[in-house]
Amino acid sequence: MTQELTELGRFAEPSMYILVALSDGPKHGYAIMTDVEAISGAPLGPGTLYGALARLERRGLIEALEPDERRRPYRLTALGATTLRVQLEGLAGFARTGLGRLKETRT
């Protein structure tokens, strides 16, 4: 079972980036923010970050770990990892289809 990220509305895209940021291990808010900005090349506002984190946590895609002072790390859950994999595979399929059609048009 996976969750549809599209139901998160304007938080769908940042949520996807956050899941990718957490895919190589737990990170706290600031680390997630800088990683997302590096991946996407666009700034991620703190309000959007925490709006997305709250939604992902509520849906069981990520979980909060014990805080270290004011830094609370988050990690991907099994459901989150599966959901991310399905989303990325969908995107990969979409990219393959698009690239294949472009190739056909050129030839």
């Binding site: 706290h28 506002g45 703190p46 925490y50 709250a54 509520r58 002072e69």
Partner: protein, 243 residues
């Protein structure tokens, strides 16, 4: 920064507020980040369930009471100014006391305004630390003194008791962090204007004529505002008692 985080609902702050503040300390927010936080706070208020299934953060019943006291005190400020407007439009009287403006029609408004101030004073006293007994005595003197003075404004002694009590309350409120350090000054300046005007040091009569007394008394409105402001502000230093 904490002001931006305070825009979020209490339950949300209880869950994410601390780490968000930590993040903002690590990366001070840009102008766009501030807008993003305001938008995020709006979103959190639209979706209260986001902060988790837990019980809503406990709300100290005194906090709501203090807020009401602040609102009531602000209404009192309006009534006080209204009283001055009524007084300043009263008839001019010439009798054995001299020429003056009869302001008796304003008395009901003035009494009501002072009674409402007593709520703010009581709220301020309740927020003082448990050991601040002098501040509480001051609050009692301020509330009673001002109210008695409003019933008979020509009896200056009651006003003086109120002023002394207000000073003691203000010092305690400043020491406990409830009032900012400057908060006592405007009220005391307004009160001190009475003896200064009566002694002729302040040229109130020559400037405003027979309406001078109402100009001086009108400035007393800062007392209401100084008392109301911290009661309305959630960020004012108020630590609910843990016992």
């Amino acid at each position: 920064m904490s002001r931006l985080v305070s825009l979020y609902p209490a339950r949300w702050r209880a869950r994410y507020g601390d780490e968000l503040l930590g993040l903002l300390m690590e990366r001070p927010p840009s102008r766009l980040d501030r807008l993003d936080l305001i938008r995020g706070a709006f979103d959190a208020r639209l979706h209260p369930g986001l902060a988790g299934p837990g019980e809503p953060a406990p709300i100290d019943p005194r906090a709501a009471r203090h807020r009401r006291a602040g609102i009531v005190t602000l209404v009192g400020a309006g009534l006080w100014l209204g009283g001055m407007v009524v007084a300043i439009n009263g008839p001019v009287v010439h009798d054995s006391w001299g020429t003056y403006r009869e302001g008796a029609a304003a008395l009901p408004l003035i009494i009501m305004a002072t009674a409402l101030l007593a709520f703010g004073i009581a709220g301020t006293a309740e927020r003082l630390p448990s050991g601040a007994w002098l501040g509480r005595v001051g609050a009692l003197a301020a509330g009673a003194g001002f109210l008695l003075w409003s019933l008979a404004p020509w009896v200056m002694a009651t006003g003086a008791v109120g002023a002394l009590g207000f000073t003691l309350l203000g010092v305690s409120a400043i020491r406990s962090g409830q009032w900012p350090a400057w908060a006592l000054a405007p009220g005391l300046m307004a009160i001190l204007a009475v003896p200064l005007a009566l002694s002729g040091v302040l040229p109130i009569s020559s400037t405003f004529g027979i309406d001078g007394q109402f100009v001086v008394f009108g400035s007393f409105v800062v007392i209401w505002l100084v008392v109301a402001r911290p009661l309305l502000s959630p960020s004012a230093a108020f630590q609910p008692a843990t016992s």
